[in-house]
């Protein structure tokens, strides 16, 4: 019955639509086609102008309205060093394209209105003008050259080649359906080999090869543990995947790179704000001074619950939208202290006995930031 009613409604609407159409045909027969055409041109011309006005002011107003929720504006400035460069490139591009967007739209709609056919109007024969065409080929070419040049300079500085002398912390992110495993290199600062054939879901889900001495002190974070990173340190993330394509995406750090099975990729970035500092930054803005949970007005505010997040940005199957991990950027001292409390994967999962011994020496040696410089950060 419901389907019958739905069908009847659709049918009725169709009839109404057809009838609306017929009215104008009858009108044009009464008033003469030429008259109707000229009047129509004026109406449509005005509509085009009105559309232009609403559209252009709408785009500008909405951009202003949403500016604080977009990356690079308001509170959401970059949390990594290279991110500022990207944000400024974005703004430079926005400046040029914005000008073109507004001017071309004004001309397009204004001409459509101004040169509409009226009684006794005529078109001019204006087929080409070499000088004009040269100008509007050259100007975009110059602007593009500038944008390309600044873009490529930034791009190549974001993907540097790190040498042995550079101090950096290399961690590894392994994507799989539908989560991430994170591995730290441990004391030696080197990630051990791994081999997908050694994967044993119960005991060695990454397939770490413990014949490689570098692997013995590697630390693997549990499934939901926060990823802790030291601030102001160069971090190289080695990105791999166990099954299908994933993408290691840190929106606040402007980091994004595919995880490809069989082909490790990497991204180098330097966090410049700890999670705490970023929260303080957000705190200044009224939209962050509201309760994080609308149902709990007395609970923590939005800025207090802010976390850096890791997401997947390459379709990987039905759980693609749920590969969240929290990243916490801390001071180097806190990082060193946290690292000191971690146990190597080998000691906890493969061979629990000698674990204690390894552990003790680490703790003993640790004077907070010294450990970071010598061990974890190469």
């Amino acid at each position: 019955m419901i389907y019958f009613i739905a069908f009847a409604i659709v049918f009725l609407l169709a009839v109404i639509i057809v009838q609306i159409g017929k009215i104008t045909e009858i009108a044009s027969r009464i008033r003469g086609e030429e008259e109707v055409e000229i009047q129509n041109n004026t109406t449509q011309g005005k509509w085009l102008l009105a559309f232009m006005a609403i559209f252009l002011s709408g785009t500008i107003y909405s951009a202003y309205y949403y500016k604080n929720s977009m990356l690079g504006y308001g509170p959401l400035t970059s949390a990594s060093e290279h991110g500022f460069e990207l944000d400024s490139l974005f703004n430079v591009t926005l400046f040029f394209t914005g000008i073109v967007f507004v001017i071309t739209h004004i001309l397009l709609f204004w001409y459509s209105y101004k040169y509409r056919k009226q009684r006794d109007t005529k078109a001019v024969f204006f087929a080409h003008d070499t000088k004009l065409e040269m100008i509007w080929t050259a100007v975009p070419a110059v602007v593009m050259t500038y944008l390309v040049a600044s873009g490529l300079v930034a791009w190549n500085s974001i993907f540097p080649t790190l040498t042995e002398e550079d101090k950096y912390l290399e961690i590894e992110a392994t994507g799989y359906q539908f989560a991430w495993d994170i591995r730290y290199p441990g004391e030696d600062g080197k990630l051990g080999r791994k081999d997908f054939r050694l994967i044993d879901l119960a005991n060695n889900s990454l397939g770490i090869d413990f014949n490689d001495p570098n692997a013995n002190d590697d630390i693997v974070l549990g499934g939901t543990d926060k990823i802790i990173l030291p601030v102001d340190s160069t971090i190289k993330v080695r990105i791999t995947s166990k099954d299908v394509l994933h993408n290691f995406y840190l929106p606040h750090f402007r980091v994004k790179m595919d995880a490809v099975p069989g082909l490790p990729t990497s991204f180098i970035f330097k966090p410049v704000k700890t999670t705490k500092e970023f929260r303080e930054q957000l705190r200044q803005y009224p939209e962050w001074q509201v309760p994080a949970d609308p149902d709990d007005p007395n609970g923590p505010q939005r800025w207090e619950t802010f976390e850096y997040e890791l997401a997947c940005a390459e379709l990987c199957g039905k759980g693609h939208y749920s590969m969240r991990r929290i990243i916490e950027v801390v001071s180097r001292e806190e990082y060193a202290a946290w690292m000191a409390g971690q146990k190597s994967f080998y000691s906890t999962n493969i061979n629990p006995e000698p674990a204690a011994a390894v552990k003790d020496t680490t703790v003993a040696d640790t004077t907070a930031s010294a450990a970071l410089d010598t061990a974890s950060v190469k």
Binding site: A123, P140, F159, R254, L263, T305, E309, A313, H320, Y321
Partner: protein, 614 residues
Amino acid sequence: MANVTVHEEDVLIKDHGFDDHFHEHHHGDKYQTNFIFHYVFSMDHKIIARQFLITGMIWAIIGAAMSVIFRMQLGFPEESLTWIKPLLGKWIEVDPTTGIGKLVPEFYYALVTMHGTIIVFFVLTAGLSGTFSNLLIPLQLGARDMASPFLNMLSYWFFFFAGVVMFYSLFLSTGPFSGGWVAYPPLSALPQASSGSGTGMTLWLVSLVLFVVSVLLGGINYITTVLNLRTKGMTLWRMPLTIWAFFVTAILGLLSFPVLASGFFMLVFDRSLGTSFFLSEIFIEGQALDRVGGSPILYQHLFWFLGHPEVYIIILPAMGLVSEVLSVHARKPIFGYRAMVYSIMAIGFLSFIVWAHHMFMSGVNPFLSNFFVVFTLIIAVPSAVKVFNWITTLYGGNLRLNTPMLFAIGFVSMFISGGLTGIFLGNSAIDIQLHDTYFVVAHFHIVMGVAAFFGMFAGVYHWYPKMYGRFMNETLGKIHFWGTIVSAYAIFWPMHYTGMAGVPRRYYSFDSFDAFRHFADLNKFITVFAIISFAVQLVFVINFFYSIWYGKKMTSKNPWGANTLEWTTPIEPIHGNWPGKLPVVHRWAYDYSKDEREFVPQHIPLKEGEVGDH
């Protein structure tokens, strides 16, 4: 005035036309005699064009309806979708305690995938280029038909069967393919990775290989016809821009689709024959795959080697149609004809050397990206030239603001808005932030989705009288135009903002991320306009089918006062297009408002002392 001109034209063709003795050989053509061969297995390019158009429209409705369903899940995740359970069955999961029905994530991804595949290939490739290349190439060139009418018929039927296979895959118990329209392996190669990667993916591949055959048969025909069957006097530099666009489009298709097919074949081998072109070091479903040595990135190269030209295969025909419509209804020559042609060629050429700009973040060597950034952003130059030329075409014109013209103006607006965001994305450094976010979704929907649809609508409203001998209703056309441009911008403009906030595309739900879940209002807004936009398209569909039988009749051969040759053919279309001799061409297609004459069709000889082409 108009009637007199038409009369003179008839005499002109009769007395001075080119006699190819066509009708002496083709009288009582057997292929035109009965219903089956006239309307179903037709070899007449005009019928095949309508077949492409109507099949494309059916697919457009299916593809758009899918987007409405997944938009409802995104915009109103709290609302129950139980009411579409009769249609979708087990793909709506009803929570037993709350009674709220939700789209199953697998099927959400299947809908997203099918929406992309259907709209890109079946609607905007076959439905757009297939329709208008078939209709206009012979008519505007003064040819009797395509070079090979038989291959032309096969082209349609391969497309038809590609559609049948794809349609069948929608009803599989494991669901249609759900790995995105780009079908990246290993997700698409391993049935254990996703339920849609089983039989659904097999059928997807079969369907698209059939589709590639269809495009190649069509493309070979278009190229041959353009090169060999132009009437006397129709030099390449006198061809209308529509033909130039279709010609370059066909070349792009011919060169790039086989590469896609090669990628598909390797994918089939990986799936069925145990090869490992695209697979390496994979551990899935508790087992290590024993095949190593391949690279998933190789597939991406092969895919985007088609994939990028493909977006120009979609947009170039629309550009051609819009150039023609703008010029005819502005009563002015298209501004900078030669620059327009060179731009089409430049865009066509460049489209082959920019494919990896889809892969900046896919793990290819970052150094390689330098070249692709440069080539990509060079495309902005010919594109800008085209935009400026379109706008200048309006300058000083005498514009008829009827539905085809409005859609052509809308096209230019869309192409500007969507084209400019391409400058952000083509710059690899900015792409780090924007890649695979809603910013990309906004960009390509506006520039090649909505814009191509606008070009197609402009074409349909403009050439409808040529197809059916009747006009579409103007009032409904205007409702359609205003409804579409407003809702299209309302849908896609806000996506720039969510994209700039970092929200990734292809997310079934944004709730789990603190960074992405604060756009519920925008998502609702987008969904509401998606529904409105869908409803407005139904006005078009009704208008289209109603007008076939009841539209205002065409009373003169050349209702728009256009210069191109298709308007010299009889109102009642006939096999062979012209009843007697073929028209002979004496000038370019854009002599509008020249020397006090409002329009001078191409087959009118030059007056003494008149300068011909421009």
